[in-house]
């Protein structure tokens, strides 16, 4: 039996097994799921090499499974994040209902994602895509008992639109190019925008919806924030990357094999869609008061950056996108875990209700701090590398100068929600209600810290990620991708030496820190947050002095025109109008036998009248 099939089978059996084990003993469910994911991950990385493939037939179709460097790159994200998230789940989900359901769906999702990347043909791609979709749907609705109608269904409808767009494209690829293999489709130019324009457009639509690109992003915030947090790490960290995987596959291969001048518009449109996604995601993130929702919108924005990177189609841009895909999985995974830890320990992530957790949950705060710095793209952590690559790609290699500013605006505004997240949960007044809070359990801290450490290392040695990324890029058509271990170079030859910067920052940090600490060490006091200068007033215990509501009201006022463009509303109205329209048609079925008889007669008469037109 083929090794890939075995790995998928392990996951499938593990999924069923964890469901059954939950019936026997609730305590072992999480551990089982974790071990299954770990085992399949270990088998995958030890036994499967990129370049491996095998063919088989199903339903009269030639199918192929295998791995290119490109899909291997995404497999890193999937397995890395999944194993950590499952480890995190063990404690997070402790004591919750329907664990078997949860873990079974979780492993099915992993199976789906792995299947998507190992599929070398469109049919298995679609099948696994749908498995991934409905398994994740089960998890999206896990929490929302009352909101199923609005939250879960929204996700499913958009996913279905995407999936069916993809299916249409697949069907036409089969018809026009007589192949279902991705490699052959690429070789035959199936993604060409000139010949059958609907094929690449439908494919991009299908992948784009999963990657939450404007204007189809509306499902993402609620789906991300309503899922159980360990799953959201996967959802936003890995599953959305499947969309990126597809966009990269379709757009980049097409772009590289054609004259860019003719298809400037494609890249412009894609880039702007990404840019607008980034801006909208950001500005909506910063008015959220729920930390999970904030992160969810931020995910949308970050995916926008990745799409922008891909849209350049140049070496640096695609590198930026692939790098961002990993680093986003890392820091956003960590951040969702942080939100989950807070939720677990405090019971809510509503930033208007909690504040000042820094002393209660120092490790969680450390992870949050590191990840947020990475998210904001501030040196010397991993996020900066991605931002640098993205900007340099846009400025030096693309002609979208205004797009740079749009993206830059988005990432500047991202400082706001980054700060809001840290401030809302960890800083600010330490309230009496949160006095009893303890640090999260160790098994929840470990995966978070691992991710944070990766984000830190990536800041100095991004080459560790560049190496597989370069291979992946070579697999989709680039030649001789150049990269350095710890410095960045654009095509104009300007470099940024990351290692030097990190060392510099580290050295100054040490010196300044020692100076500040040692100076007047004994005469420096650490006081509580109630000891603040409030015009001499003594804050009462019950007084909530933390500034949490309408945090960025001035910005909201200034950017009011941006906020008036609410995609969510547009979709909602569309849905409402459609239902009204449907209601009208439904009335054709009057429930009256005479009417039906009349229909029959009228239909007969009409057919007889127009018989020569219809039949010949």
């Amino acid at each position: 039996m083929e090794i890939i099939a075995i790995i998928l089978l392990i996951l499938l059996v593990g999924s069923i097994l964890s469901f059954l084990i939950n019936r026997v003993n609730k305590n072992f469910t999480g551990v089982t799921a974790f071990l299954v994911a770990l085992a399949s991950g270990v088998v995958f990385f030890t036994k499967v090499q990129s370049g491996y493939q095998f063919n088989f037939q199903l339903a009269g179709l030639d199918l192929q499974w295998g791995l290119t460097d490109y899909s291997y790159y995404f497999a890193y994200i999937i397995f890395g994040l999944s194993v950590l998230a499952l480890l995190y789940s063990i404690k997070y989900m402790e004591g919750k209902a329907r664990l078997g359901y949860y873990y079974a769906s979780f492993l099915m999702t992993i199976l789906g994602m792995l299947g998507v990347v190992v599929s070398q043909d469109f049919v298995s791609l679609f099948i696994f895509w749908e498995i991934m979709t409905w398994a994740s749907f089960l998890l999206v609705i896990y929490n929302s008992y009352y909101k199923i109608k609005t939250k879960g269904i929204k996700y499913m409808i958009f996913s279905a639109i995407g999936a069916y767009a993809m299916l249409t494209a697949i069907v036409f690829i089969r018809v026009h190019y007589d192949t279902l293999l991705i490699s052959e489709a690429i070789a035959k130019g199936a993604f060409n925008f000139e010949q059958y324009i609907y094929i690449p457009i439908f494919l991009l639509l299908g992948f784009g919806i999963k990657a939450a690109v404007m204007p189809f992003h509306v499902w993402a915030p609620s789906a991300y924030s309503k899922s159980p947090m360990p799953f959201t790490t996967i959802f936003s960290g890995a599953m959305s990357k499947m969309g990126i995987f597809g966009i990269g596959l379709v757009f980049t291969t097409f772009y590289l094999s054609n004259d860019p001048e003719n298809f400037y518009w494609v890249r412009t449109i894609l880039g702007w869609l990404g840019g607008i996604t980034a801006v909208m995601g950001t500005i909506y993130a910063l008015i959220q008061t729920d930390a999970k929702k904030l992160l969810a919108y931020s995910s949308v924005a970050q995916l926008g950056y990745i799409v922008v990177g891909l849209s350049t189609g140049t070496e640096l841009g695609v590198m930026a996108a692939l790098y961002l895909a990993v680093i986003h999985a890392v820091f956003k995974g960590a951040l969702f875990m942080v939100a989950g830890a807070v939720e677990k320990q405090v019971g809510t992530t509503d930033m208007t209700k909690i504040s000042g957790l820094i002393r209660k949950m120092p490790w969680t705060f450390f992870v949050a701090l590191v990840s947020i710095i990475a998210l904001a793209g501030v040196p010397p952590l991993g996020g900066f590398v991605g931002k640098w690559l993205l900007y340099e790609a846009l400025i030096t290699e693309s002609n979208n100068y205004i797009l740079v500013v749009v993206v830059f605006f988005s990432s500047t505004a991202a400082f706001m929600y980054s700060y809001r997240f840290l401030f809302g949960l960890f800083l600010g007044q330490e309230e009496k209600e949160t006095e009893h809070i303890k640090e999260a359990p160790v098994t929840m801290i470990i995966p978070m810290v691992i991710l944070a450490v990766i984000a830190m290392i990536a800041g100095s040695y991004p080459g560790l990620i560049f190496e597989p990324a370069a291979k992946a890029m070579e697999a989709i058509g680039f030649q001789n991708v150049s990269w350095q271990m710890s410095s960045l170079t654009n095509i104009w030859g300007d470099t940024t030496d990351l290692f030097l910067i990190s060392m510099m920052i580290f050295a100054v940090f040490i010196i300044a820190f020692i100076f500040l600490t040692l100076k007047g060490l004994k005469k420096t006091r650490y006081v509580g947050t109630k000891d603040i200068s409030t015009s001499g007033e003594l804050p009462k215990e019950w007084e909530n002095l933390t500034f949490q509501i309408d945090f960025f009201k001035p910005f909201e006022r200034a950017a009011a025109p941006l906020y008036s463009m609410n995609m969510n509303k547009i979709w909602k109205n569309l849905g409402k109008n459609l239902e009204a329209f449907f209601g009208f048609f439904r009335k054709l079925y009057t429930g009256n036998g005479q009417t039906y008889a009349l229909f029959v007669v009228i239909f007969l008469v009409v057919l007889l009248l127009f018989k020569d037109v219809i039949f010949s």
Partner: protein
């Protein structure tokens, strides 16, 4: 009605009590090193302190009206390095301008305690010195230095900006000589101050432990 004391000749007991109450507590001399005992470093630092006075002007009474005049173009206190501070954390000088109601006193004490050593207090105007025209008011305190240590008194009702500046110059002199700044004295005599403070502040809700 018997609780409101009428004016009259104090009894010997009252005089005795007053002597205890008004006993000099601002014993900065000797606690802070004076000119002779100052080392060179301390001398230089005192020079800097003297020329950089961040003032927390606590506008408790009518005296606050004199502060703008002092600070702005006409009298320009900034040439002495005197400038306003926004919060007690950044301030060096607490300027009590005018009378202190018992309600305000609580805030003043809080502000004073939040300032960082070395910190100086200037009592500004008659009211802050001895109650001034409110000497028999039931809700103002009569002598500021029973509640927090005071470095410099500026007499007058109101003192003009010239005399305010004069007061600051006096403070600078004291700083130069190392005689100003009573934060440590306050800490050491805290029991006494607290007792006085609690005597007038009825709704006492300060933290039990004073963490300077």
């Amino acid at each position: 009605m018997s609780e409101i004391k009428t004016l009259g000749i104090p009894t010997p007991e009252e005089i005795k009590q007053a002597q205890i109450d008004f006993a000099p507590r601002c014993t900065s001399a000797g606690r802070v090193n004076d000119k002779e005992t100052q080392g060179t470093v301390e001398y230089i630092l005192n020079f800097a302190r003297k020329h950089s006075l961040f003032v927390m002007a606590y506008g408790t009474g009518c005296g606050a009206i004199e502060i703008p005049a002092t600070m702005t173009s006409r009298y320009d206190a900034e040439r002495f390095g005197i400038r306003g501070a926004a919060t007690p954390r950044q301030a060096d000088v607490l300027l009590i301008t005018g009378y202190l109601a018992t309600k305000t006193l609580k805030r003043v004490i809080r502000v004073y305690e939040q300032m960082q050593d070395p910190k100086y207090v200037i009592a500004f105007g008659s009211c802050a010195i001895n109650g001034g025209m409110y000497f028999d008011s039931y809700n103002t305190i009569k002598a500021l230095d029973r509640y927090i240590p005071v470095d410099v008194y500026i007499a007058g009702c109101m003192p003009r900006p010239e005399s305010v500046i004069n007061g600051f110059v006096k403070l600078q002199e004291l700083i130069k000589n190392g005689n100003a700044g009573n934060g440590e004295a306050y800490r050491e005599d805290l029991d006494w101050y607290r007792k006085n403070q609690q005597k007038v502040i009825k709704n006492w809700d300060f933290p039990d432990k004073y963490n300077w």
